[in-house]
């Protein structure tokens, strides 16, 4: 492979990788705080994409404008799913830790419900949003860079930074971090842990609302697109370390470049084999991830 193709692959990988990282932020946050792996993570992203698509198709809203609707909508969905579906589990096992497998099963149920509601509503057809930005590129050192992807990439960096800042400096952020570190001590300090969980879950989903809208200009939409994004997010989180925000972005970049370069050698579909292989290798060698705390 020549150098030009390789650098093009790396740049593209970085761009899409940043977006993977952004998509994985919510999963990492939720797992870090609640010790719950949200199997429906990708489904929520898919839901956001359909929202953005619907607003474009029916009202002609530009996907970037639809963010104003998708982010709050996904926040509410997340808040509601945690409050209604997952919290009974925490209440049942009040003094104990929630058995992670039960939570996984619950969210797997949510995944089935969300994916198939969308399938029922929109059918299996592939949909896409045609806006000008899809075709715009800027040139850096002679290499074309797709503008929509660049925006997604930058958004991931900005969101990660903003989230870190917010977690570090706001009251709620402090409560979230305290709850993540020690749930019992947090409630003994007067933190309303249920509310922290609801907000955390809502927040994790709200981030997906953003990236759903940022993805639609260059990513076609089908009802079953969620699972692959979900699994990629797990991979990113495992690579970067659970609960680590910079780790999430870094893991995303790593995965993006890895996939992009690997797909230069094999077909794009079988490139996923390498991603899964990487996932297994990382989990077996370093279960806490490359940068993560145990």
């Amino acid at each position: 492979m020549d150098l030009l193709t390789l650098s093009f692959a790396v740049i593209n990988g970085l761009l899409i990788g940043g977006i993977y990282g952004g998509v994985a932020l919510g999963l990492s946050l939720i797992f870090g705080v609640m010790r719950v792996i949200n199997f429906a993570h990708g489904s929520f992203l898919m839901l956001a994409m359909y929202c953005s698509y619907l607003l474009w198709a029916s009202l002609g809203l530009h996907p970037y404008v639809s963010i104003l609707a998708t982010v709050p909508f996904l926040f509410i969905v997340g808040y509601f799913v945690q409050g209604v579906v997952i919290s009974p589990l925490f209440k049942r096992e009040r003094a104990l830790v929630v058995e992670p497998t039960s939570a996984l099963l619950l969210t797997a149920g949510v995944y089935l419900v969300v994916d198939n509601i969308v399938l029922m509503a929109f059918g299996p057809d592939v949909r896409s949003v045609a806006v000008d930005i899809t075709y715009e590129s800027i040139f850096v050192a002679g290499l074309p860079i797709n503008l929509a992807r660049l925006i997604g990439f930058l958004a991931a960096i900005v969101v990660a930074a903003a989230l870190s800042f917010w977690l570090k400096h706001s009251e709620m952020g402090r409560a979230i971090r305290a709850t993540a570190q020690n749930r019992d001590a947090a409630s003994l300090s007067g933190i309303n842990v249920q509310r922290v969980y609801n907000v955390t879950f809502g927040l994790g989903c709200a981030v997906l609302g953003l990236f759903g809208a940022l993805l639609v200009p260059f990513f076609s939409i089908t009802p079953n697109i969620g699972l692959s994004f979900g699994i990629k997010s797990f991979l990113v989180v495992v690579l970067g370390g659970i609960g680590s925000i910079p780790g999430s972005i870094l893991g995303g970049l790593l995965l993006g470049v890895f996939e992009s370069v690997a797909s230069q050698f094999v077909t794009a579909t079988s490139a996923a084999i390498f991603s899964f292989g990487l996932f297994i290798a990382i989990l077996l060698l370093r279960p806490a991830g490359l940068m993560g705390r145990a």
Partner: protein, 344 residues
């Protein structure tokens, strides 16, 4: 007293199941019932390890798919009868399960689950993208068809009507339940329950968790493989998406969990409840509402995890012998595997 429910429910059900082909002549309906039995079989095979060890594998479809491919290839390439092919496929799946299990059983909870998905997906994607492997024609995503031999042939595992297929899967289901019952009474069964109950405690009593989990996994993979081979033979067709996709794994897991993990009858109960719902929804309004049955599956799963974490077999069991154990029943709901271990 032991296995009261198995006998009380299982006995009449078996008689009913044996008699069904006598009065059900519609081949579509018979086929649908055979599919219920098939899913009951697959869920029971999954339950054999996951239900007893308490780990959630979503990669079992790989064992089904691999064994199906081995069976079909042995038949189409070498003319080996699918009956032998099935055993070979099962053995292959069991062999495959050992390194996979060795790697994954060290991981806990969601990590285990996600790794099993990763293993299965690697295999599926590889198959989808491989037309020819060392001269073996795999034909990628397109899949393989089993050429008809013309008419019924026992040796070729091909029959004109649905009745033989029906009885074969019924026999397999009875077989896997018997195997589960035997396992429960053996050292392996005791050890698996001990590992699930308290891993450290089990280790201190001389149980090497990896060794016994792997043993159970290999048996489970073998059984799952037989089911996968049957599935391929029933449709005379196999492809990576259908025969080893994650949906199949999810079905096995959901049916077992809704029915009751770690029990002999639970997976079958789950299949009896869920599959007909799915079929009916598909048959009546499914045309216009794609995916409705899966929404129902998802809701049932959520409700089961919240209200019947040990499966619907628990309230059933309580209903049946509640009177006999009034005092204990208060506690039974969340705490016990009601089917098992209630004296003899």
């Amino acid at each position: 007293m032991r296995h009261t429910l198995t006998l009380l429910l299982g006995g009449p059900l078996l008689v009913l199941a044996l008699a069904i082909p006598l009065f059900v002549t519609d081949s579509y309906i018979l086929h649908s019932i055979a599919m219920v039995l098939f899913f009951a079989y697959m869920a029971s095979s999954w339950n054999f390890v996951c239900g007893y060890v308490g780990q959630l594998s979503l990669g079992h479809s790989a064992f089904a798919g691999v064994a199906g491919y081995v069976t079909v290839l042995l038949f189409t390439q070498l003319g080996v009868t699918p009956w032998l092919g099935m055993l070979a496929g099962g053995a292959f799946a069991a062999l495959l399960s050992v390194p996979v299990g060795y790697a994954t059983f060290r991981l806990k909870g969601p990590y285990f689950t996600l790794t099993t998905i990763a293993f299965a997906e690697i295999l599926r994607i590889w198959l989808e993208n491989t037309d020819d492997f060392l001269g073996i024609p795999l034909k990628g995503a397109q899949g393989l068809t089993v050429p008809p031999v013309g008419g019924s042939s026992f040796l070729a595992f091909q029959f004109d009507g649905k009745v033989p297929y029906y009885y074969i899967i019924l026999a397999m289901l009875v077989g896997v339940m018997a195997a589960t019952a035997l396992m429960e009474r053996s050292r392996l069964g005791f050890y698996l329950k001990a590992i699930r109950g308290d891993r450290d405690g089990a280790e201190a009593l001389g149980v090497d968790p990896t060794r016994y989990s792997l043993t159970a996994l290999a048996i489970s993979a073998f059984l799952t493989g037989l089911g996968g081979a049957y599935y391929a033979q029933l449709f005379r067709y196999i492809n990576p998406e259908r025969n080893m996709g994650i949906d199949l794994s999810i079905d096995m897991a959901i049916m077992t969990i809704v029915g009751g993990q770690g029990t002999i009858l639970g997976p079958t109960l789950g299949a009896l409840l869920l599959h007909p719902i799915g079929e009916m929804v598909r048959a009546t309004i499914g045309g216009s509402f794609l995916g409705l049955h899966l929404i129902l599956y998802g809701l049932m799963l959520i409700l089961a995890v919240i209200y019947f974490p040990k499966g619907i077999i628990v309230p059933l069991q309580r209903l049946l012998d509640g009177r006999a154990r009034k005092s204990a029943s208060r506690k039974a709901a969340a705490k016990t595997d009601a089917l098992e271990g209630k004296g003899q």
